[in-house]
Symmetry: D2
C-alpha cells in the first residue's frame, strides 16, 4: 500500500542488488514486450520486489521509449492491457530483489533516461564497491541523483563518456574503466542492444537466439522459457553489441583478464535456478555434486535422505546417489505462502514455519533421517525443522549443509545478514549442532567449492574472506545500511 513512500538521503543507498536482467532485439520488427514478460517470469526468483520493462522501436522515431515499472511480481505489475501498449522490437527488462528498507518504486529498473545522444534504457545486476565515491565525484561536477541505485551512477558515466566517443559501446567501455565491483548490464540505445559483464564475472549474463532475435539474460532458464537457443555466455569483462548486422564484440574495448575471474559461488549454491547453466556448468549438477561431496566427506548411517524444499532437494539427491541411502520426501510445502504472507495481529500460537512446512509423518516415523539444506543462516529455522522431524517420529536427525558456514559480509550483491546474526560467527560446528538439536552436523568443505563450479575461478569471500577486490576501507556496508 505504501510502496511509493521513499526515504531519500545521502546516507540511504542500498548497496546490495540481487537482480535479474533481460534484453532482446528482434530484427524482424516484432513487438518484444510479452517475450520480455515471459523472460522476467523465468528470472522472478532473482527479485520479487519490483520489475519493469522498457521497449523502443528501432524503426520508429529515434529515442521514443515506452516504459512500465512497478512494485511487485511480474504478474502483478504487468496486465495484458499494459503489455499491449508497450510497442517496440527492442527492449530491456528487470526484476529486483526484495530487502527491507529503501525498497521504493523510484528505485525500480530499467532506468530510462535522455542524454546527449538520445535515450538509454539500462538494467543492471550487481553492486559497485566504489559507487559512493563515484557519486560524490559526479555531484562535484553538477550531477543530480533521483534514485539510490548504482545504475544511476553507471548511467552518468556512460552519458558523460558519450560526449567524447563516437559510439555507445565505447562510452560503456570508458565507463567500465571507472566502475569497481559486480555488474552485469543490459543497455538499450535507439538502434543497439548492449550487454556487458564486469572483469571478475561475478554475475552471470548469457546470449540467446530465437529466429531473427537476439536475447541477453541473467540465466539460461530464461532462454529455455521463451524457446530460444543458448548461444554463449558474455565473458567476464566483455562488451557485446547487437545490431541489425548481428552480434559484435570488440576485443580492444573489453576488459578481459583471466587472472581476475571470480564467479560468485552463491549463484550455484542458492541463487540461480537449477535448470540454468553458467559458463558451461549446470547449476543442477553443481548441487548434485555438493551432495555427493557431503556424502563422501561426512558419511553417516541412516535410512533416509531428505532435502529441505526447494533448495535442498538436489543436494539430497546427490547425497542419496553417492551414499546409496534411500532418497525420500519428508516435507509438504504450502505453495500459497508467498511473498505476501502477513502475520495476523491477533495473538495466536501458530508459527511461521508450520504455516510453510508440514512433515510427512508416514515418511519419517521410526527412521534415521539425513536432512540436507543449502545453508544455515540464523539457525532458528533449522532448529524448528529438526524438532518437527523428531515430533514426527524420526529416530535420528543428521543435518548436512551443502555449503560452508557463512562468516563474512558480501560487498558484491549477495544479501548476507550482519555477522552478529550469523550462527556460524564465533561458534564451532559442535556448538551449532547443539543449538539446532541435530544428532550430527556437517558443512561442505571450502575446498569443495571450486569443483562445484567446474574448476573455474570463483569468489567465495562470504565463506573464506578472500575478496577479489579490496573491500572498502570504511565499512560502507555498515555505513549505508543503517
Amino acid at each position: 500500500m505504501n510502496q511509493n513512500l521513499m526515504d531519500f538521503g545521502i546516507g540511504e543507498e542500498k548497496l546490495r542488488e540481487e537482480c535479474g536482467v533481460f534484453g532482446i532485439y528482434d530484427f524482424e520488427g516484432n513487438d518484444v514486450a510479452s517475450t520480455i514478460y515471459y523472460g522476467l517470469f523465468a528470472l522472478q526468483h532473482r527479485g520479487q520486489e519490483s520489475c519493469g520493462i522498457a521497449v523502443s522501436d528501432t524503426d520508429g522515431p529515434k529515442g521514443k521509449v515506452s516504459v512500465h515499472k512497478g512494485m511487485g511480481l511480474c504478474n502483478e505489475v504487468f496486465t495484458p492491457e499494459v503489455l499491449e501498449q508497450l510497442h517496440g522490437n527492442i527492449g530491456v527488462g528487470h526484476v529486483r530483489y526484495s530487502t527491507a528498507g529503501s525498497s521504493t518504486r523510484e528505485n525500480a529498473q530499467p532506468l530510462v533516461l535522455n542524454y546527449v545522444k538520445g535515450t538509454l534504457g539500462l538494467a543492471h545486476n550487481g553492486n559497485l564497491v566504489n559507487a559512493p565515491k563515484l557519486r560524490h565525484e559526479l555531484e562535484y561536477t553538477g550531477a543530480i541523483f533521483q534514485t539510490t541505485i548504482d545504475s544511476e551512477v553507471i548511467a552518468y558515466h556512460i552519458a558523460r563518456a558519450r560526449v567524447q566517443v563516437p559510439t555507445v559501446e565505447e562510452a560503456v567501455a570508458a565507463a567500465m574503466k571507472k566502475l569497481e565491483g559486480a555488474y552485469s548490464l543490459v543497455i538499450m540505445s535507439p538502434r543497439k542492444l548492449i550487454g556487458a559483464r564486469d572483469p571478475f564475472g561475478f554475475k552471470p549474463l548469457c546470449i540467446g537466439k530465437r529466429d531473427k532475435a537476439y536475447i541477453l539474460a541473467s540465466e539460461t532458464c530464461a532462454l529455455e522459457t521463451i524457446g530460444a537457443e543458448f548461444v554463449r555466455d558474455v565473458e567476464p569483462g566483455e562488451i557485446v553489441t547487437i545490431t541489425k548486422d548481428g552480434i559484435a564484440s570488440n576485443r580492444e574495448m573489453c576488459l578481459k583478464d583471466p587472472l581476475k575471474e571470480a564467479r560468485c559461488i552463491f549463484e550455484y549454491i542458492y541463487f540461480a535456478r537449477p535448470d540454468s547453466v553458467f559458463d558451461g556448468v549446470s547449476v543442477y549438477h553443481a548441487r548434485i555434486q555438493a551432495g555427493r561431496f557431503l556424502a563422501m566427506d561426512s558419511p553417516v548411517e541412516a535410512d533416509l535422505v531428505v532435502g529441505v524444499p526447494e533448495s535442498g532437494n538436489a543436494a539430497a539427491l546427490g547425497y542419496a546417489m553417492e551414499s546409496g541411502i534411500s532418497y525420500g520426501t519428508a516435507f509438504v510445502k504450502n505453495s500459497y505462502v508467498g511473498r505476501t504472507f502477513i502475520k495476523p495481529k491477533q495473538s495466536s500460537r501458530e508459527s511461521a514455519v508450520r504455516i510453510k512446512l508440514n512433515v510427512l509423518k508416514e515418511a519419517v516415523d521410526g527412521k534415521r533421517v539425513i536432512m540436507i539444506d543449502d545453508s544455515i543462516v540464523r539457525g532458528t529455522t533449522s532448529a524448528l525443522i529438526v524438532g518437527m522431524l523428531r515430533d514426527a517420529g524420526a529416530r535420528e536427525v543428521h543435518v548436512r549443509i551443502s555449503a560452508p558456514p557463512f562468516l563474512h559480509p558480501c560487498y558484491f550483491g549477495t544479501d548476507i545478514p550482519t555477522e552478529d546474526q550469523l550462527i556460524a560467527h564465533g561458534r564451532t560446528v559442535e556448538e551449532i549442532r547443539q543449538i539446532i538439536g541435530a544428532d550430527s552436523l556437517s558443512f561442505l568443505g571450502q575446498d569443495r567449492l571450486a569443483a562445484m563450479a567446474g574448476g573455474r575461478p570463483i569468489c567465495a569471500a562470504c565463506f573464506d574472506g578472500k575478496y577479489p577486490i579490496e573491500p572498502p576501507s570504511e565499512d560502507i556496508r555498515g555505513a549505508y545500511e543503517k
Copy 2:
C-alpha cells in the same frame, strides 16, 4: 476486477463444489479468527476462488456474527486489519474451488443467516444430487434464493426443521434425511459448533483439539498447521456437537450405514494434501502405494523415474522404491506462475507449459525415463511434457499414470471435464500413447484403487461408472453447466 458480476438464473446453478471447511470453538474465550485464517491457509489447495470467515462470541449477545468474505486467496482477502475486527471465540471458515462461469462473491461461503432461532454460520463441502428438486420444493412454499450454492438449500432445511425440534443438531439430522449427495458440513450456532458428514462419507471431515479448543477441518493437515492434535474423523453419517460440555454425538440422530460408505478416491489420488490422513489412511502412503502398484503391474527397463510436479512426485518415489530404478528430478517448476497468470495479448511464441515447467537437461540427457503423472485429462499437456523430455535428450519416455483413465462424470463434487474433452473417452491405451508420443503408457488398474484407500469402501465412479447414489435421470450436469 469483475468479480462481483453474477449471472443468476434458474438454469445457472453450479453443481460441483470442491471446497475446504474449518470450524473452531475455544472454550476459554480466545479470539479464533486468526487460527481459522491459518487453518484455511493449510486448506487453500482445496479452493482458490473465494474464502470467508464468520465468527461469533459464545458469551456475547446471542446471534451477533461478524463475517468477511471475498474473491481470492486467503492472504488476498484477509489483511491483519480485517482479522483484527473479527472478534469471537467460535467460528467457521471456508475456501472455495475456482471454476469458470458463475464464480461470484455472492456464492462465497460461509453462509450467514438469521432464522427463527437466531443466526447460523454454515460452511459446506460437496455436492447434492437432489439440490434442484429440493430448491423447487422450497420455492413452492415461498422460499427465495439469493445464491446458486447448495448450502442455501441445506440452510433452508435446517431452518424449517428447527421450528419443529428443540435443538439445532436435531434440525441438522432432520435436514440430512432429505439431502442426497456429498456433503461435509461445519455449522456454527450461537453456542454450538456442529460437524456433519453424509452417510457415504464422500468428503472428509476430522476433529482436532488444542488446549481448550475443539476444531473441525476437512483435512488433518490443517490440524498440524495450527498445532492441534488429531482426535478422530467425523464418521460417515455422523453429527457431532461441540459445546462447553465437550464433544457429543447422538447415535440416534446419525445416519450411519456401513454398507453405504463410499469415500471419494480422488481425494487420495489428487485432491488432498499428502500430509493428510483420512479415516486412518495416509494420503502420502496411498500415493507411494499407487507408484508401487504401477511398478509391479507395468514394469519397464529404464534409468530414471521422475514425477511431474507436484502431484506425480510421491507415486514416482513409490515406483522407484519398488522397481529399484533411480529416482530423480527432471523438472523445474516456476513457483511464481500461480492462479493469476494471464497470457499477454501480444502474439508470442511462448507456451503456457514452458512458462510453468523447464526440463533439467543435465538430469535426463541420454537416459531412459519413466515419467509418472497422476492423471491424463485432455492429453495436450502430457504430449508437451513428453516432447520436452525428448528435446532434452531423453532416449526413451515411458509414461505411467497413478490412476485409471477418467471415463465418467462426477455428480458429487469433483470437477471432471465433459466426456468429449476426456482423451480416454473412446480411445484405447495404445491410441492415447500415440497421441502423447510416449514409448510406452500404462494406467493404474481399477482393481488397485481399493487397496490405495486401505481397503475401505470407495467411490470410483469417475473411473468405473458405479455410482453409490443413482445419478440424476436427467443429466443435471449438462443441464446446469451450460
Copy 3:
C-alpha cells in the same frame, strides 16, 4: 478497504434507507445497463454508499439475470468493462445512502432472487415500520435472512403470495397489504417491470418514456438526464405494470386512499435535486418559496443575502427576490472534498469546515449579511460559518433557516440524529441564536410547509411529531441502531 466486513445479527437491522431507485424496460430490445448507469448518476445524491444494477433479457432464457453491485459511487463501482457485460433490455438500479455502522456489500441492492416463479430483481427506497415483526413471522415459518435490509422482507412476502395468485403484480398487491411504512419499489420479473408506492406516498416515484422504452425513477431529474420525457407520477398506493403491451394499473389492486397521503416534506427541503418535480411541485420552486416565506415572516435590514452552498442557495434567492436585498455569493466550496475526505492522524490545526468552505472576504467585508441555510442540526457547523463571516468583516450576520427546527425522530427513512444531538431539542430559538453567535435567527414556520409542497398533504413529523402511521410502541429506532 474493509467494506466487506459485515456485522450480522438479530439486533443489527438498519432501519433508515434513503435511496434512489431506477427501472427501465426497452421494448425494442436494446441493452439498458448504460442508461441505468446514467440514471443512477442523476440519483447519486440520494445514496453514495453502494449501488447496483441488475438486467435481464425479456426475449432471452426466462430467469437469466446479470447483476453487479458494489460499495461506492456509480463511477467507482461501474467500469465500461462491467457495463458491457450486463446485457438485457429490462433492468433495475439502486443507489444507497451512506450511514455509519452496518454498511456492507451484503446490503447493497438491487436484491436478486430465485423464487417459485423464476427470478425477481427488486430495488427499494424507504423504511418499513413493521419490518422486525414481519421478519419474526417469516422466520417462524422457516424463512432465512441473509441481509439486514427491509427489501428482503418485502421479497419474501411477494414470493409467498405468488404461490397463491396468478401474477406478480397481484403478489405485490398482496404483500403491500402487510407492509407498513414508506416504500417506493421497482421490481423486475422476467417479462415485466413493476413500480409501486406506499399509500402515504412518502417517497417519490415517477414514470418516464423514451422512444419505445418506459422508465421508473425516484426523481424526474433522472428522466431529464437520460433524455426521457416525464409521463406522470406513480400515485400513492398505486401499482403500475409495464409490459410489451404498455403501461397498466389495475385500480382494484391498488391501495389508494387520498386521506392517507403524506408526502415527505424533507424531500422538498433537502433531499431531492432542485430540478426534480414531485406530484406537480417543483423542488426548486418549493425552496424559492421557502426563502420568500422567510423574507415575509422574518424580515431584517441588511446589505446582502447569501446561501450556504449548495442547499441554501435557492432559498437565499427567494429571500432576495421577496425582500429586494441583493443576492450574493459569500462562500467558495472546495469541490474536491467529497465522500472520501479522511482527516490525517498527525495533529493539525486545520478544521474540517475550513477545508470545505472559504469565505469571499471581498463579498462580505463591511456588510450586513443574511445567511440562509436549509437546516441546523447540531449547530456546530453553523457557529463556525457565522464566525468565518465575521472574521471576513461582516458587520452583522442574520441567520434564516428554510425549515422548522428538527425535534422528532423519523421512522420512514430520513436519517435524523438522536434527540440529544439536536440543537433544537429543549432550546428556545434565542438560546440557539446565542450558541451559533448570530445577530438574529429565524426558522421557517411549520404552517408554511404545506404551501411549500403546493398544498398537497405532507408528513412533517420530524418537525411537528404528527406521525401518519403509529410509530412503533417500543422505540425500534433506539433498539436497532445501537
Copy 4:
C-alpha cells in the same frame, strides 16, 4: 490502472504545466505533512493529475527526505497511514494539471534529488520557453534526464551553480539568469525554504504565516484553508529565503524589473479560485468586474441573468448588479461527475453535457435569459447549453462571455487547444453566434482586461498575441506536443 506507463523520448516533452505549489517551514519542529496535505487540497483545482509531498527535518540528519507521490487527487494519493510516515518540519507539496498524453507518475512532483550539497526538494509551476535548448546544453556536458518536466532542467542549473557559489539561494539566482519563461518555485534544502518567481510574474506565489511557521503557496486560498495569515506576495523576479532567522530577500540576487511584469490574465478569468487575492487584486472582484463591464459594453433587455456553473457565476452576478436585471440560477450541476467519469461502451443516447448539467425549467420558462460563461473554446458545449435553455422554455438566450475570444497559443503554461480547434479562429462574432444558436453574443473587450487585474501589467497574449517573451522561433508547441 495504467498510470505508470510512460512515453519517454526526446520529442515528447510536455510544455504546459498548470500546477499548484506549497511550502512550509515550522520553526517549532512540528510535523508539516498534514498541513501540506490541507494546503494541496485548497490548490487541487490547479491540478488533478498527480500530487506529491516531500518533507525533511531541519534538526534531523542533513539531507534525509521522505517523499510520497502518486497519480490522482490528494485524497486518493494520501491516506492517513502515508501522511503519518512523513515526518519533518519543513516540506514542499505539488499538484499537477491533467492533460492527455505524457501524464505519468515519473513526472509527478516535487522532484527530490541528491546533489553536491545534499538534497533538494523542488516544486514548480509554469513553463520554460527555452527548456529544450537548456536540456540540450546540459546533455552536452553529460547530464541525464529521467523525466520530461522542466523542473529537472531547473534542478540541474541550481545543482551546477551550487558548485560555484556559497548558498542555495545564490545558486537559484544564478539559475534564474538562464531560465526563460514562466515559473514560480518552492525549494526545500536541508535548512532553508526558498521561494522564487520569474521576472514577469506570470504565475502567482504568496507568503503566509501561522504561529512560528512560514508558508509559500500558489494562492492565498491555501493560506485561508490552513488558518494562516497572508503576509505578502513574492514579487516578480524575487527570491525569498526562509530560515530559522526569519524571511530574507536579497535585492541584489533578485531579477526585478517593473517594465517586464506581465501577470497571466487567465489566472483571474478562469484558473484561480475566486477567494484568492493576487498582488492585491481579488479574483472574485475581477470576475464581478468582468460581468459589470459586459453589462456596460453589451447591454440587452432581459428578465434573468444566469451563470454557467461554476466559473460563470461571479461574472453573472456582476452583470446583474450593473444591469439591474434579476440574478438567478438556471442550472443544476451533478457534483458526482468528476475527473473520473468514463463513458460506457454500450451505445447509448445520453450526452456528456446532460450528465453534468440539467436546466431548472421552473427558473427559465418563458423568460429572456442572459447566460454568462467565462469562455467559448470549441463552441460545442455552448451550443448544447443554449439548446437546453430553449428546450426549457427560455424565450431568448443572450450569451455574454467574460473574456475575449481565444486566438493565440500560450507558451507559458496555459493549456489552450490548437488554433484549428478554437471556434473564434477565423470567425466573426456573428458567425459564432449562429453556431451556438444564441439570440445575441458578446465577448469582453480586450481593453477591459487590464482593469480586471487592477491596472497591473498583464500578459493577455492568448487574446491579443502580444507575447512578453519572444515565442520560440520554431513552433515548439507543435513540435513537442505531437
